[in-house]
């Protein structure tokens, strides 16, 4: 269940972006830089191997923040499913050791869920709620060089493209009887048949994309205008403080690796 919700998250995150310009001011509801900071903070909290009660509380708090962020963009279901998966994970972590023999290993799965659900949910929220133009504006304000900014936008553009091309290729493979239960079932051949057409497609799309972007002035000598405005407001301050609470709690509670 938890793995399914993770994959559902990652596909919806790349397919539905934020509202255009976030109202008239053009200023993002949260600055992309704040969201990136929150992602790092949540990383620290969830991935630390600290097993104390404080640490579990800190992780739950972090999960709560992510759930609120998803609620703020109106995605009630995502907030609920991720929180629920997290809660199930917590229960497993606490009580799996009471199970007899091999079953106690389920606790390991619980740890995995508890550590990764908040992370994946936060990363998905970041992608879901941030427009490409916002992200570019924020990165240029951080004075990141073009050599970093442009590849980043290309990656955002390519994730859904890969998913889409992959679907068509899977269709073709099933139709031609390649796959488990099909005529061709050697795993190596299956991998080759999947990867070669995918690469060829992506290279071609990449070329066409480059041509189109060049003719629309990307990489020219002019200073780029940013329609999206970046800047910090009270919401940014609130989020920054909120994500620092569990970090400080963890550090204060003694960092036991």
């Amino acid at each position: 269940m938890s793995l399914a919700s993770v994959s559902a998250l990652s596909t919806t995150a790349v397919s539905t972006p934020a509202p255009w310009l976030n109202g008239r001011s053009g200023r993002a509801w949260l600055d992309p830089r704040t969201k990136a900071f929150a992602l790092i903070a949540i990383n620290v909290v969830t991935l630390s191997t600290n097993g104390s009660a404080t640490a579990w509380t800190a992780r739950s708090f972090a999960m709560g923040i992510v759930a609120v962020l998803w609620l703020s963009v109106g995605r009630v279901r995502t907030a609920l499913t991720t929180s629920l998966a997290f809660a199930v994970g917590l229960v497993l972590v606490q009580y799996a050791r009471l199970l007899p023999g091999q079953l106690a290993l389920i606790g390991g799965i619980g740890t995995l869920v508890v550590q990764f659900i908040p992370l994946v949910a936060m990363a998905s929220y970041l992608v879901y709620s941030t427009q490409v133009s916002e992200a570019v504006a924020a990165m240029e304000r951080m004075r990141l060089p073009r050599a970093v900014v442009i590849p980043f936008t290309v990656v955002l553009r390519f994730l859904p493209t890969i998913a889409q091309e992959h679907r068509s290729i899977s269709d073709a493979m099933r139709m031609r009887g390649i796959g488990f239960g099909g005529r061709v079932r050697s795993p190596l051949a299956m991998l080759e048949y999947r990867v070669v057409p995918l690469l060829v497609s992506l290279v071609r799309i990449g070329d066409e994309l480059t041509v189109s972007a060049l003719t629309r002035g990307l990489g020219g000598s002019r200073t780029r205008t940013h329609v999206s405005r970046t800047g910090f407001g009270w919401r940014d301050a609130l989020l920054a403080v909120a994500v620092l609470i569990p970090v400080v709690a963890l550090l204060g509670g003694g960092w036991r690796a």
């Binding site: 859904p160 269709d171 189109s212």
Partner: protein
């Protein structure tokens, strides 16, 4: 605005297309010029010269004089030329750089450093004009091909270039979107822009283009005025290798029964999760057993949903296909159907053409495979890697794989988008060969000229339902002007 004098160009890497050998092009403000000719005539190369992709991106030997808005092409890289020249390309899937519609419409103007308030005003105006204002926050990946192409046109127009270059912009569009495209070009012309369109499909540019250039082997061999072109009949156009210069009357199926031997579809219904109305709703449909069946309809009519369901690829689409009395469920259909995809690159897997065919028929002997290859004119490339072949050859490899398989239902998804007259006729001939071999051939297409050339039976879909279905009268190529 555009001054091209005696330009010669040869691509450094020969496979990228035909070069130019002594081309002249002079275009003034407010002029719409159509460049046409069969595949490989050099028309795409000419558009690449105007937007500066030649010689800056596609490298090669360039000689002669070429300038756009007074700037010498050889000294102006495309990203610098972009404030004057806007470009729209053939493939709607690979022309957007950002992910959401709003960001995309602003993209070119942002790159060019134009004024922010002006960009915002123009983005809003463009979105309304294109009927996309409800889609501003939508992911472009969720739009139809037609809507994507409109976003591409809009994004270019927001930066207000004075020259627009379009390379086969209508290839993947349905009739309604082509009409919208015509409207956009008319607007640009009205605003005093110079528009150069390289196209195979000519009819939608009638009454809009001021001059028509015919290219052959990298040279402009003929020029037609607007009056010449509106008087030209289909037979004359065909003698130049051109597609119909006038819109064909929409094919009308006759109200006649499908005949004795029939194929029956029952219960093809599919509703996507979260959608209110079904994307496909065909309770029952009868098709003839022999002949080519064409399925047409606007973008979003349910054609791709029906295609996936018919081939048995959609696990959640029920339906029974009965052929010669044998009822086929989804799994049976998957084993007995072959889909020739619009992008054939997705379905070629192996390292040689022969291997590719063998994948369909692992037990067939070499002589049998050789016959199939010969029948599709692939003998000379039998040992080549399928990905190294031309688009037309790849399509023939996919057809050969269909022929070699035991699939008796062969479905084609848009097999002629972007093809010139000769190649379209070739595809039509392949379809007829498959029909003659006793297979059920279904072709899903926007191309009315292909329908006229080869379809015996027409099914028109709208909103997931069959709005008309019946046999078509076949009289061969008609030369009447509309």
């Amino acid at each position: 605005m555009i001054e091209v004098r005696n330009v010669h160009f040869r691509y450094q890497h020969g496979e990228e297309g035909a070069g130019l050998s002594g081309v002249d092009l002079h275009a003034a403000a407010g002029e719409v010029i159509v460049v046409t000719g069969s595949s490989g005539c050099g028309k795409t190369t000419l558009t690449r010269l105007v937007n500066g992709l030649i010689p800056h991106f596609f490298e090669g030997d360039l000689s002669g004089e070429a300038s756009v808005a007074g700037r010498v092409v050889a000294d102006t890289p495309p990203a610098e030329a972009a404030d004057v020249v806007g470009s729209v390309f053939q493939n709607p899937r690979s022309q957007f750089f950002t992910v959401d519609v709003g960001s995309e419409l602003a993209f070119a103007a942002e790159n060019l450093g134009q004024d922010r308030d002006e960009i915002l005003a123009r983005v809003t105006e463009s979105a309304q004009q294109l009927g996309l204002d409800a889609f501003m926050d939508r992911s472009i990946f969720q739009l139809s091909g037609g809507q994507k192409q409109k976003v591409a046109c809009g994004s270019v127009w927001v930066s207000r270039p004075r020259v627009l270059v379009l390379d086969e912009p209508s290839s993947n569009l349905d009739a309604a979107t082509i009409a919208d495209l015509r409207g956009l070009i008319a607007g640009w012309k009205g605003a005093g822009c110079t528009v150069v369109v390289a196209e195979h499909r000519l009819h939608y540019l009638q009454g809009l283009a001021d001059r028509w250039l015919l290219m052959e082997n990298g040279q402009v061999t003929r020029e037609f005025s607007a009056a010449d072109m509106s008087a030209m009949d289909a037979a004359t156009a065909a003698s130049f290798g051109l597609r119909s210069p006038h819109p064909l009357p929409p094919p009308q199926p006759l109200a006649a029964p499908a005949g004795e031997d029939v194929v029956e579809l029952t219960g093809f219904v599919k509703t996507y999760p979260g959608a209110k109305a079904p994307a496909l709703d065909i309770a029952s449909l009868t098709l003839p057993r022999h002949g080519t069946v064409a399925i047409t309809g606007p973008n979003g009519a349910g054609k791709s949903t029906l295609t996936r369901a018919l081939v048995g690829l959609d696990k959640k689409a029920p339906g029974i296909l009965a052929i010669d009395g044998a009822r086929r469920d989804r799994k049976a259909r998957l084993a007995t159907s072959f889909l020739v995809m619009q992008d054939v690159n997705h379905q070629l897997f192996t390292e040689s053409v022969t291997e590719e065919i063998r994948l369909s028929a692992p037990d067939a002997d070499d002589a049998h495979l050789a016959t199939i290859l010969a029948g599709l004119d692939l003998t000379a490339v039998a040992e080549r890697h399928p990905m190294s072949l031309s688009g037309g050859q790849k399509q023939r490899v996919a057809i050969a794989a269909a022929v070699a398989s035991d699939a008796d239902v062969v479905i084609f998804d848009e097999p002629t988008s972007g093809l010139d007259l000769a190649h379209m006729a070739e595809v039509a001939a392949r379809l007829e060969e498959l029909v003659a071999a006793g297979r059920l051939v279904i072709v899903v297409t926007h191309d009315d000229e292909l329908v006229e050339a080869c379809a015996d039976y027409l099914v028109r879909l709208e909103g997931g339902r069959v709005v008309s279905a019946g046999p078509l009268l076949r009289e061969g190529a008609s030369g009447e002007a509309a």
